[in-house]
C-alpha cells in the first residue's frame, strides 16, 4: 500500500497533537498536515501546519493542494468556556464538521475519513443497557450541548458516507479520556479537593487512557474498516470507588442542590463542563467495546481502573511548588515546566 498523506483537524488540541506526534514515527505515513486555528504548542517534525478555520471554504483548497488521502477529524470540542461560549462551540463543532465534510466530499483523493465523536451521544439514562453497543436503537432526544453537537456531527458524517460510497468512513465514540496530561471536564472534576456528588446515586463510570485514545485514532486511520466504534478501557468503577481511589472526599448533595451548584460553578467558569455531564454523575454510561476489538484490533493497554490510577499517580502539573522559595536553577526548571503546563492545558 502506498504511504499515507494524513490531514488532522484540531491538531492543537490534545488528541490531534498526540496523534501527530505518534505519526512522526510511523513509516507508513508520508506526510502529516495539521490544521487548526492556533499553532501547536510543541513543534512536530515532518508536520506541515496550516492555520485555517475548518468553517472556511479554504479548507477545500488545502485538501486538494496537499493531496491528502486520509482525513482525521478531531476538532469537536466539549468545553464551552475554552471555545468562547456555547454558540461559538456549536459553530465550531457542527458547522465546522459540515464544512470539512463538504470539502472532503469534493476531494476525490481522500479514501479514508476518521471522525472522533464521543460516547456522549448515548446520553445518560437509568434504563440503558449496562454495556451499550454501537447500534443500540434508542437515541435520546433530549441531548444538549456537547452530546448534541456530536450527535449532529455524526448525522452529517453518515450522510456524507452515503454520498461518497467509495470512501471508508469510521466514527469513534470515545469514552471519557483520563490520564496524566489530558485536561478534560472529568480531570477538572477529579482534581477538586472535595467532589460534589448526588445523594443516593452512584454511577458506573468507564474511562479510556489518553494513550489508548490516541492509539485508537491511529489504528482507525490505518485500517479501512467502516462503521462506528466504541472506544473505552475495560472494566468499570463506581464513582464512589473512584473518589476513594483518588483519596478524595465526597460531598453528597441532594439532587436539586447538586444541580444548582453545577450551574453556579459553570456560570462563574470555575469548572468548565458541558451541561449534559451532570447526568453522568447520576447514571453513568458504559460502552460495549467488542466491535473495536474485533474489527479495529483495538486492545486498550489500560483498564478503566488503571487509567484512573495513572491519572492519580502521575498527574503532577497541578501541584507545582511556588518559585520564590527555590534556588535559581530550580526556578528555571519551574518556569520551563509552567510553560509546558500552560501550553498543554491550551491544547485540550
Amino acid at each position: 500500500m502506498a504511504k499515507r498523506r494524513v490531514l488532522i483537524t484540531g491538531v492543537s488540541r490534545f488528541l490531534g497533537l498526540r496523534l501527530a506526534k505518534l505519526l512522526e514515527q510511523d513509516d507508513d505515513v508520508e506526510m502529516v498536515i495539521g490544521v487548526d486555528l492556533e499553532e501547536p504548542p510543541v513543534p512536530i517534525s515532518g508536520m506541515e501546519f496550516v492555520r485555517v478555520d475548518i468553517r472556511n471554504p479554504l479548507i477545500a483548497r488545502v485538501l486538494s493542494a496537499t493531496k491528502v488521502d486520509t482525513v482525521v477529524h478531531t476538532n469537536i470540542g466539549s468545553g464551552p468556556a475554552r471555545l468562547g461560549g456555547r454558540s461559538q462551540m456549536k459553530e465550531n463543532n457542527v458547522i465546522g464538521t459540515m464544512q470539512l465534510l463538504a470539502a472532503t466530499q469534493r476531494a476525490e483523493r481522500v479514501k479514508r475519513v476518521v471522525m472522533k465523536s464521543s460516547a456522549a451521544v448515548y446520553g445518560s439514562k437509568a434504563g440503558e443497557p449496562s454495556l451499550i453497543p454501537e447500534d443500540y436503537a434508542s437515541r435520546p432526544v433530549d441531548l444538549t450541548g456537547y452530546s448534541k453537537d456530536c450527535s449532529e456531527a455524526e448525522q452529517y458524517a453518515r450522510d456524507f458516507g452515503r454520498r461518497r460510497p467509495d470512501l471508508d468512513l469510521a466514527i469513534l465514540r470515545t469514552q471519557q479520556v483520563l490520564g496524566p496530561t489530558v485536561q478534560t471536564s472529568m480531570t477538572t472534576y477529579f482534581s477538586l479537593p472535595v467532589l460534589p456528588t448526588a445523594l443516593g446515586f452512584d454511577p458506573r463510570l468507564q474511562f479510556v487512557h489518553e494513550e489508548d485514545a490516541v492509539e485508537a485514532l491511529h489504528l482507525a486511520l490505518k485500517s479501512d474498516t467502516r462503521g462506528i466504534f466504541n472506544i473505552a478501557g475495560d472494566g468499570v468503577v463506581y464513582l464512589s470507588q473512584a473518589i476513594r481511589m483518588l483519596g478524595k472526599l465526597e460531598a453528597p448533595l441532594l439532587l436539586p442542590a447538586a444541580q444548582a451548584l453545577a450551574s453556579l460553578l459553570r456560570s462563574f467558569n470555575i469548572v468548565d463542563f458541558p451541561t449534559d455531564q451532570l447526568k453522568l454523575i447520576l447514571f453513568g454510561r458504559v460502552l460495549d467495546t467488542r466491535r473495536a476489538a474485533e474489527q479495529l484490533g483495538f486492545k486498550p493497554r489500560y483498564t478503566t481502573r488503571e487509567a484512573l490510577e495513572d491519572f492519580h499517580d502521575n498527574r503532577t502539573q497541578d501541584q507545582l511548588p511556588e518559585p520564590n522559595t527555590r534556588p535559581t536553577w530550580e526556578r528555571e526548571l519551574f518556569e520551563y515546566l509552567k510553560q509546558r503546563t500552560e501550553t498543554e492545558r491550551e491544547t485540550v
Partner: protein, 352 residues
Amino acid sequence: MGEAEIINFDRSRRAPLGPPRPQPKVRCRASTATGRPCRNYATTDDGYCNVHANRSARDRHPSGTGNTGTIASEVSFDEPGGVEAWVRKRLRGDYPIDDFGYDPELARNVLLPLAKPLYEKYFRVKTLGVERIPDDSAALLVGNHSGTVAIDAVMVQYAVATEHPMERPIRNIGADLVYSLPFVGPLARKAGNAVACDEDALELLRRGELVGVYPEGYKGVGKGWKERYKLQRFGRGGFIQTALRARVPIIPVAVVGAEETYPMIGNSKLLARLFGAPYFPITPTFPLLGPLGLIPLPSRWIIEFGEPIPMDDYPEDAAEDAMLVFDLSDRIRDTIQQMIYKLLARRRSAFF
C-alpha cells in the same frame, strides 16, 4: 416436570435434602467459576468439597469467565486481617466490580448477612430443588412475581447464594424504574442485578451467569389480593427469545408466601400517578399505620426450583418464530402455575 419434594415440616428447617454431611471446619481449596474461593466445607482428605472432589485442576481454579471484569481476589472475613483489613480495602476503593456493577464483596459480606434474618427467621424460607441449578453454566431462572415490593427476588437470590453448593449469585434483570431511584438503583446494581433489556440478559448468559427474570413485571407485584397466586401475562416472551438465542436452559421458579407479605386490598390510581409509580398499594396496614405499615407480614415461604427445560434442541432461528415463542412462554407459565398450586396444597398455613 419433576415432582416437587415432599415437605416434611417435622424435620429441622435447614436440614439438607440429601443424607446428612459431616461438617468439618476447613473450607474447600478450589475456586468457583467467578473466581471466588469456594465456600463449601472440605469433605475429602486433600481439602476439596464434594463439588470439587472429582474435578480437574483447571476446573477447580477456572481462570475467570472470560469477561473483562473478572473478580480476581476477594477478601473474605475468614482470611487473616478479617473485618478490619476488609474495611480498609473498601475505603481505598480497592475492590473488584464487574461490568454490570456487581460488587461481590459487598454482596457477600454485607448484603447477604442483612437478608439472612429475613430469610431464616422472619419468612422461614424452605428452599426445594436448589440442586437443579447448574454448578457453573448459565441458566435463565423464571419466577412468579408477587408481594407488592419485590422481596421475592431478593429471597430467591439469597436461597441460591447460600444453599446452592457453589453459592452462585443470581443476576436479576429489573425494570428501568428501579435504576432511576436514588439509593435503590445503585444498591440493586451492587447486588448483581442488571437492566431488563435483551442486551443485558443475553450478555450475562453468555458470560455463564444465572439470570433471573420475573416476566409478569409490575402486573405480578402490583396485583390485588383477590388475584393472589394467579400468574399474570408473561410479558411479551422476550425472556424466551433470550434463552433461545443464548441456548441456555430455563429453570422455573415458584415462590409461595410472598403474596401474604403485603396483601394488597386496594390500589390508589390517583396516588400512583402523583408519585409516578406503576401502582400505589393499599394493604390492611398501609397507609393506615404509616411507616409501620411498611413492615411485611411474617408469612412462611417456600421456594421451589423446577426441572430445567432445555432450549438447545430448537433450531438456530427459533427465537424469530413468534408462535414457538408464545407457545414456550405459555408452557413455562403453566409449569410455574402448577408448581405453585402443588406447593399451596401442601402448606398447612400461610403464617405458621
